[in-house]
């Protein structure tokens, strides 16, 4: 069934959108990522104008994250205190990111920089996670399942303004989580994603949070950052397509519920290997687009847009 999108001004198949939303929703629930880094390129691919895709995707992430986080609340795997600290940094970062984005847009190279950002971050994050989680898998098979207790030492412990994060079992300074939130906020505004795929590994490896808590906490802060982004896009660029969003999120919220169930039944190490593989696949696809000669060298854009 074809449906005409009022803001995007294109006609698309409604079931295709429902299906895409559902698939990305499952991944979102499993891994605690918003799914924007998958959905946004997919929307470009089916012909949604980039500006509309980025803005509408932010709105859809709000829905799937909210659906996911409720499930985590019931299982008490959301560290509200940590989430709030991350969020504070995240909102400041998102505001900064919008300024940076508009500056890059005036230079006319925003597409390239967005793609490069994707390739670099997805590549680094994906490889690190992949190696680390493979090692963990091997260890747990050999060593009878006694996971090496990760204790954060050194610089994270030496900082002032320490705070106790009971749910995560941490007693660390608020500065590292604040900085993580800030960086992710900047990147999410530039790349048009929730930032979960950076946030999740940062929480595990930099802050040393337990994997089970990481997913819920990440979803919690993503809701607010993406809601903020949606409002920014709706009021400045008028690019949020509510019809597109509804179709995506109906599929998305259902998918997220299924994903959360699957995620809670899988061992954390396997979950991380899968997420790492997924991140690497997307990274590889984007890198190939940069390296291989495109079949159409020219692209059209509206005046002043990107």
């Amino acid at each position: 069934m074809q449906i005409y999108l009022p803001i995007a001004e294109v006609s698309v198949n409604a079931f295709l959108l429902l299906g895409l939303g559902g698939m990305v929703g499952i991944l979102s629930g499993m891994f605690g990522v918003g799914g924007g880094f998958l959905m946004t390129p997919l929307l470009f691919f089916i012909g949604i104008p980039p500006a509309v895709a980025v803005a509408t995707e932010a709105n859809q992430i709000v829905a799937s994250s909210f659906s996911g986080v409720l499930a985590h609340f019931r299982r008490r795997t959301v560290d509200l205190r940590m989430g709030t600290v991350l969020l504070t940094g995240g909102l400041i970062g998102a505001a900064l990111g919008v300024v940076v984005f508009n500056y890059l847009k005036s230079l006319g190279q925003v597409d390239l920089l967005v793609t490069l950002c994707y390739v670099v971050f997805l590549g680094v994050v994906g490889s690190l996670m992949f190696i680390e989680s493979l090692n963990a898998l091997r260890k747990s098979k050999k060593g009878g399942g006694a996971p090496a207790a990760r204790r954060q030492r050194g610089w994270v412990h030496a900082m002032p303004f320490k705070m106790r994060f009971r749910t995560s079992g941490l007693y660390i300074s608020v500065i590292p989580p604040m900085l993580v939130g800030l960086c992710v906020g900047v990147l999410s505004a530039i790349m048009g994603v929730g930032g979960g795929f950076i946030m999740v590994p940062a929480m595990i490896y930099l802050l040393g949070m337990p994997t089970k808590v990481v997913v819920g906490t990440s979803l919690f802060q993503i809701i607010f950052v993406t809601a903020f982004t949606t409002m920014l896009h709706a009021t400045t660029n008028y690019t949020v397509d509510i019809v597109l969003a509804v179709l995506l999120l109906v599929g998305g919220v259902v998918g997220a519920q299924i994903g959360t169930v699957i995620g809670s039944r899988m061992p954390a190490e396997q979950l991380r290997v899968l997420l790492a593989a997924l991140v690497l696949v997307v990274c590889g696809k984007l890198a190939l687009d940069l390296l291989i000669e495109p079949s159409e060298l020219f692209s059209l854009g509206s005046e002043g847009g990107h």
């Binding site: 709706a234 509510i242 509804v246 059209l300």
Partner: protein, 255 residues
């Protein structure tokens, strides 16, 4: 029927001084309503030639129908390999390019329209795009205008369909123009040209009103006029959907 109408038309016309042949036009619809399930539209364009004199001898009458969507400037960028990756380098602003352009003719366009007439009336796709300001310092500036045509032809937005206007007795003509689902709103200009011996002898112009209606209209207006409420509405729907799915699944699992 056709013959009688032709005869009637000829009879109506008193023998007069003017050699004028004029277009009398009909459209199957003069407005296109974009609804939520809009899936393209086909417009039937038909008409007759009103003349004050007998049909002139010499080259036959030919008809060209051109429908153009609203025009806007288009930024065209070209990719080049720099440091191993493909990046946008040069860009050219094409001053005005229609969002939709379809030409239907009664014979191959080159056979019925001279270059000078094409230049004057901007009928062929190449002429319908205006890029006077194309920067001279960029090599192959014409490539950029060609790229606009190529990309939009691939998307079905630009088309030239020769031999699709049926002309009866040099008097009645009809054709249909297909409009794709991805239409932008605005006034679409439909122009009809009569040519003889590659010269335009008469032209007629009318507009087709393409508008969003109903829910599409309401949402579009709201997003422009009440962006804050529109944004909040989007968020409320998102939160409600997220909560709804979560609750539904919990109930499902408990039972």
């Amino acid at each position: 029927m056709l013959k009688r109408l032709t005869a009637l038309l000829i009879l109506c016309c008193t023998p007069a001084l003017a050699v004028d042949e004029q277009v009398v036009l009909g459209l199957s619809q003069d407005r296109v309503a974009i609804t939520a399930t809009f899936d393209g539209s086909e417009i039937l364009i038909f008409g007759a030639v009103k003349r004050e004199t007998p049909i002139p001898s010499g080259p036959p009458l030919e008809v060209i129908v051109a429908v153009a969507g609203p025009s806007s400037p288009v930024m065209v960028r070209r990719k080049e390999r720099r440091l191993g990756i493909w990046v946008n380098t040069d860009s050219v602003l094409v001053d005005l390019a229609p969002s939709f352009y379809a030409v239907a003719t009664s014979a191959p366009l080159d056979d019925i329209l001279s270059d000078t007439e094409d230049l004057r009336y901007r009928i062929s796709i190449e002429r319908a795009i205006r890029s006077v300001g194309a920067a001279m310092h960029i090599r192959g500036a014409q490539d950029f205008a060609d790229a606009v045509i190529r990309i939009r032809e691939d998307e079905g937005l630009y088309s030239i369909r020769e031999n699709t206007v049926a002309v009866d007795e040099q008097t009645l003509f009809r054709t249909s123009i297909e409009m794709p689902a991805d239409l932008t709103e605005g006034d679409y200009r439909a122009r009809i040209f009569l040519t003889r011996g590659k010269e335009v002898i008469s032209q007629f112009e009318t507009t087709i009103d393409v508008r969003k209606v109903g829910l599409e209209r309401f949402l579009f207006n709201m997003s422009r006029q009440q962006p804050v409420w529109y944004g909040l509405m989007s968020l409320v729907i998102a939160i409600a959907a997220g909560w709804g799915a979560s609750t539904a699944f919990r109930l499902l699992r408990e039972n």
